[in-house]
């Protein structure tokens, strides 16, 4: 069959010898094979680009593995396209390989970029640290040094083991490669694997040898501290990671803090804190927030212990309202740790931000009497305002008051305004809700099944999309916040780390609901309305529909920025006009440009193959029958039925066996075209007449192929270019049993009417296409639409939509002046399409 087709294809005018035909056939088949492979690679490349774009836009967590994997797959497929075009064109576009290398190398450079670790001292005393030492001491310790040395407030005395020291420790044990290897092997979705990997990496670091010179430096600093304190003080050791403490990325409660460390335990504790970078909740947190593990470097603060009589957390303004004129203070007896890990009940104070810092309101929950006096509250508020002024942004401050009544600042960082809600207990129970009360730790509404977590074993069985119900909001529960839809805790308040992380992840949370773990039963479905502080039985769609859309967790993170940067070399399309002299390899700046160039030139090469080998346009057959307008068909391979007499220069639709062409045709002819719309018939008719009835378009008359409407077909493939007057559309499809090869694409440009009417039409087409599952991109009045990797029956229905639109929207811009007309056309289009397209033909994937 192919031989016959080709005989005719190549020998329309003169007879050729069998050998010539044989060699031409072989050559043509090679070309067609390359052409098809190029289309498949193009298809995959465009899908990869779309996935990368969508991922960035939607803000769902993604890792470096995603970026690396997609870039690699893109490279491979674009390489294939260039190779296939090379085969098709006999190496005509040699410049492409150079451009491809240049773009690839730039992308590789971005992906391989490592964060720089500042060189410098391994250990710095607090007197040497300020805001400018952030890249050595980490944000937490740099801020504390700043508070001590520039604001002049009390902070604990001590020293910092710097990022350079940690790098030295890690490098001297060759730890990083082994850690990376273990992390790469880990299955993110498997909690057990996460715990095992986390534990094994922490063990690896804890067992590593601390270089003697570093250990001596740490001990020397401790001796100096002991000398200044006149005693062998106990110290607290806490993480101060690089990259922590920006306003929206808290890293709250991720790492280890060790209190009451004796001098003989300094080295061991240091290693444990460095290892805590790989705690399970920290690994999950980084993945969710778009940090590469190498973006975080642990520095460790070593500070003399504060004997806190009262401790707590305060906000220089309400986290909900950045303009609020009061300071919020949470206080509990004892050390500050209990307040931030959510265990302790706290007293709550709201204090004016203006001198004399009056207490506006208070709620005492710890004892019958208050944890502190009004004057201490006022002193704290004064400090909060000073710190806010110094750092230029509202602050979230950890503090302690020691036995001498002195206020010591333990930490200050920018306050996260991630929709945190001020503590306002609500006790009004309604009959409707199942449970009510507590405080809104993180706002929002969500529904899921209850899963009560009391131990790590419960944690391991935590189902995706469940509501986490706990007695206490411990920081380690954050490990499963990427799986939970909401959090309910019997105790705790908005300042707990778990509340902070819930707010960041956009997960609704109610803390302080008494007896939640008793009243709620595993497996039952509930709806949590965190703002209303109520829990309802079942799934409450009425409440869920008002829930705010999830925020983009990744925006601004290192991995997000990296993908953004990489995409600038991938997705922008600069090569839009094939007729332009700039449509050439050297103008390609992005991967998208290269794919566009390859695709355009591959189609051209398939056309020009024929002319190169003596086939002329008379090989194109004109469709005859009761059909609208004029169309020509070129058979690339097996698009005509077997046994057809190929001498004719006409062809009937019944002789065509190209699946995608037949589908388009069905769409084109399903509804009779009623002719141009009833406005200015004469004017429109003349445009139409010009474009379709022009004698220069008669197949017997030589003209440029690019000015006609052509179907280029095989059984599984169809490339249709339609030129009607000022319009240009291109539909292309490949249907086969391999999903990867399947796609439908559509391009639409221009129009005869003025610009605003053209816009209205393009918008209407877009609306229709999106309804039928196309992914549409629109630039001014040009539109491209694609669907990939769907089953042939699914795509056939979409091709009918394209066929219909090609015929029935051509003239609409002429009447698109008024909205009434647009609506009426939309209705009629949709009504027609409903009849033509079979919605039952769903995708089988």
């Amino acid at each position: 069959m192919i031989i016959n087709a080709l005989k005719n294809f190549f020998c329309s005018n003169k007879e050729r010898s069998e050998t010539e035909i044989c060699s031409l056939r072989r050559s043509f088949q090679d070309h067609y094979k390359s052409f098809r492979s190029l289309l498949t690679a193009n298809n995959i490349a465009l899908e990869l680009m779309a996935e990368m774009d969508e991922t960035l836009r939607e803000g769902q967590p993604f890792s470096m593995a995603f970026v690396r994997g997609h870039c690699t797959a893109l490279t491979v497929n674009i390489y294939k396209m260039i190779q296939h075009l090379h085969e098709l064109s006999n190496g005509k576009y040699a410049g492409l390989a150079r451009v491809f290398d240049t773009v690839s190398e730039k992308i590789e450079g971005i992906i391989a970029r490592q964060p720089k670790i500042a060189k410098g001292e391994f250990v710095l005393s607090m007197a040497e640290v300020d805001i400018y030492s952030t890249d050595q001491a980490g944000g937490k310790m740099a801020n504390l040094g700043e508070i001590r040395n520039r604001v002049g407030l009390n902070v604990p005395d001590g020293f910092v083991i710097t990022a350079a020291a940690t790098k030295y420790f890690m490098d001297s044990n060759n730890l990083q490669d082994e850690i990376n290897r273990r992390l790469k092997l880990m299955d993110d979705g498997d909690l057990e694997d996460l715990y095992t990997t986390s534990a094994s990496i922490q063990q690896l670091i804890a067992n590593a040898h601390l270089p003697e010179d570093l250990e001596q430096l740490i001990n020397k600093q401790y001796e100096d501290l002991a000398l200044r304190s006149n005693s062998r003080v106990l110290v607290s050791m806490r993480s101060s990671a690089l990259g922590e403490d920006s306003s929206s990325i808290s890293f709250a409660g991720q790492y280890r803090t060790q209190l009451n460390v004796t001098d003989d335990m300094l080295g061991i504790t240091y290693k444990e804190i460095v290892a805590s970078k790989y705690k399970s909740q920290a690994i999950v947190y980084r993945m969710q927030r778009g940090f590469r593990h190498q973006d975080v470097v642990m520095c460790v603060g070593c500070l003399s212990m504060v004997d806190g009589v009262v401790s707590g957390v305060m906000y220089s303004r309400s986290p909900r309202d950045p303009r609020s004129e009061w300071v919020i203070i949470n206080a509990a007896p004892g050390l500050a740790g209990q307040v931030v890990d959510g265990r302790a009940m706290t007293d709550f104070f709201r204090v004016s931000r203006k001198s004399p810092f009056k207490v506006i309101s208070r709620e005492i929950r710890t004892h019958a009497s208050s944890t502190m006096s009004d004057s201490q509250a006022a002193e704290l508020a004064d400090i909060a305002v000073r710190l806010e002024e110094h750092f230029g942004a509202p602050q979230d401050i950890e503090w302690s008051i020691n036995d001498k009544g002195k206020i010591i600042i333990l930490q200050s960082r920018p306050l996260a305004h991630t929709a945190a809600v001020e503590e306002q207990p609500n006790n009004d129970e309604t009959a409707e809700s199942f449970l009510a009360g507590g405080v809104t730790a993180s706002t929002g509404v969500a529904s899921g099944i209850v899963h009560i977590v009391r131990s790590n074993i419960d944690l391991l069985q935590f189902p995706e999309g469940a509501v986490l119900v706990v007695a206490h909001p411990l920081p380690e529960w954050a490990t499963i916040l990427n799986r939970a839809v909401a959090v309910v805790s019997e105790t705790g308040h908005v300042t707990a780390h778990l509340a902070t992380v819930s707010r960041e992840f956009g997960i609704p949370a109610i803390f302080g609901i008494a007896h939640a773990t008793e009243k709620l039963k595993n497996g039952e479905t509930i709806t949590v309305d965190a703002l209303g502080r109520r829990i309802y039985e079942g799934q409450r769609d009425d409440l869920l529909k008002n829930a705010a859309p999830p925020s983009n967790l990744m925006a601004g993170s290192p991995v997000y920025k990296l993908l953004e940067e990489v995409l600038r070399l991938i997705t922008p399309l600069n090569l839009t006009n094939p007729a332009s002299p700039y449509f050439r390899p050297s103008s390609c700046e992005t991967f998208h440009d290269i794919t566009r160039f390859c695709h355009e030139k591959a189609v051209t090469e398939m056309f020009s193959f024929s002319s190169r080998y003596g086939f002329d346009e008379k090989g194109a057959k004109q469709l005859v029958g009761d059909i609208p307008l004029q169309w020509w068909v070129i058979n690339l391979d097996d698009g005509f039925r077997e046994g057809l007499d190929l001498k004719d220069k006409w062809i009937r639709i019944d002789d065509i066996v190209s699946l995608p062409m037949l589908a388009i045709w069905e769409g084109m002819t399903a509804v009779e075209w009623k002719g141009p719309p009833p406005v200015n018939f004469k004017g429109f008719g003349s445009v139409l007449f010009q474009s379709t009835m022009n004698p220069s378009l008669d197949p017997a008359v030589r003209s440029s192929m690019s000015s006609k409407s052509y179907f280029l077909i095989s059984r599984n493939f169809c490339n249709l270019s339609v030129r009607l007057g000022y319009h240009f559309s291109l539909a292309e499809a490949h249907l086969s049993d391999l999903l990867t090869e399947n796609y439908v694409s559509f391009k639409f440009n221009g129009g005869a009417a003025d610009e605003s009417r053209r816009f209205i039409r393009v918008n209407l087409i877009r609306e229709v296409l999106e309804q039928y599952d196309f992914r549409v991109e629109q630039k001014a009045d040009a539109l491209t639409a694609r669907i990939e990797k769907k089953s042939a029956p699914f795509l056939i229905e979409r091709l009918k939509v394209l066929g219909y639109l090609l015929i029935h929207t051509r003239q609409i811009d002429m009447v698109m002046g008024e909205q009434g007309m647009v609506d009426s056309y939309r209705k009629s289009l949709m009504a027609d399409l409903e009849k033509i397209v079979n919605p039952a033909k769903e995708n089988v994937t």
Partner: protein, 126 residues
């Protein structure tokens, strides 16, 4: 020879080999497997496989080096590389050395079959 496609799987992960062999056989392919490059070369010399699915990390040889060896023996061999560690550079290098595809692990069986079919179809010459 039957019309079933002959596929050689080369991977040092025995579990992967076992499961993939079982599944591909069930889908109507003739499968043989090798755990080292040397073993693979031996099978290739018998001119048996039409498609070779080759892991990038082998105990005796780097996957790209193994690819070069295979191509030296059988320039027309269809080779699909599989890797657990995506790298643009390795991807490009593999394609330059004549790989038909370079895919990321883990890969779904259906996806692998599609890649095999596409690579095989793309290389068919009359």
């Amino acid at each position: 020879m039957s019309d079933k496609l002959n596929i050689l799987l080369v991977d040092d992960e025995k579990d992967f080999l076992e499961i993939t062999t079982k599944r591909l056989t069930r889908r109507g392919y003739n499968i043989r497997s090798a755990t080292t490059c040397a073993e693979a070369i031996e099978i290739i010399e018998s001119d048996w496989p039409q498609v070779i699915v080759l892991d990038v990390m082998l105990p005796d040889r780097d996957g790209i080096e193994c690819l070069k060896d295979i191509k030296k023996k059988r320039p027309s061999a269809i080779v699909i590389l599989l890797t657990g560690h995506a790298s643009m550079q390795a991807g490009r290098q593999s394609m330059e050395c004549g790989a038909n595809d370079y895919c990321l692990k883990p890969i779904e069986l259906d996806d692998l079959i599609e890649k095999i079919k596409i690579a095989h179809r793309g290389s068919l010459s009359s």
